[in-house]
């Protein structure tokens, strides 16, 4: 089980944001930054942080909407999506990348730093791979803004996971766009999976795909 810590942003405002943190079980393999969905640092994100810790990584999930709404949490319903999308649109890209850089700096003294993100965080894991230096590997899950940023060149080994049944993200088109600009980046499409398939919300979860994607991510992070 983890705990909430405070990290000071690399952004000009030096804002101190909370982050959910979990120490690694057993021998420390490295650090993992976990980037949230639009719903805040909810039970799913915390469970993911705890799981990366149980796999041997010191994991940390920054609360990216903290400046706008301290402690923001939203349900997977219409109102929750609206609130989360509103915060996403009100949170500047440069600020998110500066918060990610601060998490990297928090972890980097103790070994390599990898990044994984889901949904909103999947977009930012991809963008961070291209724009935030000092990361060892990146794994991007179903980010709706990856396609528009496909031409960014990742500075570290990066993999992308997409669900074939994702109504909002055209998996094949994203794969083509990423591979056209970055032929060395593996883009995996999971046939039985929709948006948010790693999330344990029963309406989203696709267990077999989630396990396979996590195994691929784990191997990437272990090798990095």
């Amino acid at each position: 089980m983890g705990e909430t810590i405070s990290i000071t942003s690399a952004a000009a405002d030096h804002f101190a944001f909370p982050a959910y943190h979990a120490a690694p079980t057993g021998e420390r393999k490295g650090g993992v930054i976990v980037i949230q969905e639009i719903f805040g640092i909810d039970e799913h994100v915390r469970r993911d942080v705890d799981r990366w810790a149980s796999l041997g990584f010191e994991a940390v999930a920054p609360a990216l909407y903290e400046r706008r709404e301290p402690g923001f949490l939203a349900h997977h319903d219409e109102a929750g999506i609206k609130a989360g999308v509103g915060h996403a649109m009100g949170t500047p890209r440069e600020q998110v990348l500066a918060d990610i850089a601060a998490c990297r700096d928090y972890l980097k003294g103790r070994g390599k730093v990898c990044i994984v993100g889901y949904c909103y965080g999947g977009s930012y894991a991809w963008i961070a791979a291209g724009e935030v230096g000092g990361l060892a590997a990146a794994s991007s899950y179903y980010g709706s803004m990856v396609q528009a940023n496909a031409a960014l060149a990742p500075m570290c080994p990066t993999i992308v996971h997409l669900g074939r049944l994702d109504a909002g993200i055209p998996a094949e088109a994203v794969k083509e766009a990423v591979e056209a600009a970055n032929p060395s980046v593996p883009v995996f499409i999971y046939e039985d999976a929709g948006h948010g398939f790693n999330n344990e919300d029963p309406e989203r979860h696709a267990a077999a795909s989630a396990d396979l994607a996590r195994q691929r991510t784990l191997e990437l992070f272990e090798k990095a």
């Binding site: 649109m89 500047p92 890209r93 709706s144």
Partner: protein, 226 residues
């Protein structure tokens, strides 16, 4: 007085600037005010302050920021050529996503008003953006490009009869496709709301502004309720 804010597109995470004028007195609603081709100029900021004085929390986004951050043109020469180039080069998809971010930044009810290039972008917002209560579009020359799309909220259109860039056939084509839509025509040229332009027509500007405020009031902008 207003302030500079930053908003983020959920199409590509691009962060762009906007001018925000807080509502004075009781809040009638939120308003997205869309620039002419010239950028978020002093004139646009004054228009925003004007609606703020009427009770609307107003956001005027800098929609050319991907091409030229903070661009503001004068009204002559090279600046106009650059302004025209930026407006032609801004894809409607990107503009719509930027406008989504503006609408999401405002508490409902949210209205949209826009002028010149922004008149067409107002049409775009009415067709594509979630959560727009009503829209008022001023002399949007490029509406025909978007005529296959249908506004999802009440919208009124304003045109100058003597606007050389918008011939009567253009207005007729819109009226043919949407016979119920209020289309107001004024004895004026292009850009008649702007006191910075030769075609400024204060009477037409006043009447069109009144019609705009009436539309907003009719669709949720009652004083003191929001």
């Amino acid at each position: 007085m207003g302030e500079a804010i930053t908003l983020t597109s959920l199409k590509d995470t691009f962060s762009f600037g906007a001018y925000r004028a807080p509502h004075e007195d009781a809040r009638r609603g939120g308003l997205v005010l869309i620039q002419e081709i010239f950028g978020v100029t002093e004139h646009i900021r004054e228009l925003a302050e004007g609606f703020a004085a009427d009770g609307y929390e107003t956001i005027a986004p800098s929609l050319y920021d991907r091409q030229h951050r903070g661009f503001q043109a004068g009204y002559g020469g090279d600046d106009v050529a650059a302004a025209r180039r930026y407006s032609e080069a801004a894809p409607w998809d990107e503009v719509a996503a930027d406008l989504d971010a503006c609408v999401a930044a405002l508490k409902p009810p949210v209205f949209v008003v826009g002028y010149c290039w922004g008149g067409a972008a107002t049409w775009l917002a009415a067709c594509r953006c979630e959560g727009v209560a009503a829209a008022s579009s001023f002399y949007g020359r490029r509406i025909p490009e978007l005529l296959a799309e249908t506004p999802r909220c009440p919208i009124v259109l304003h045109f100058g009869r003597r606007d050389p860039s918008i011939p009567p056939a253009t207005v007729e084509a819109i009226a043919d496709r949407f016979p119920e839509m209020p289309i107001y025509q004024y004895d004026a040229g292009h850009g008649f709301v702007s006191d910075r332009r030769a075609d400024y027509n204060p009477d037409a500007a006043k009447l069109a502004r009144l019609r705009t405020l009436q539309l907003f009031t009719l669709h949720g902008g009652g004083r003191g309720e929001n």
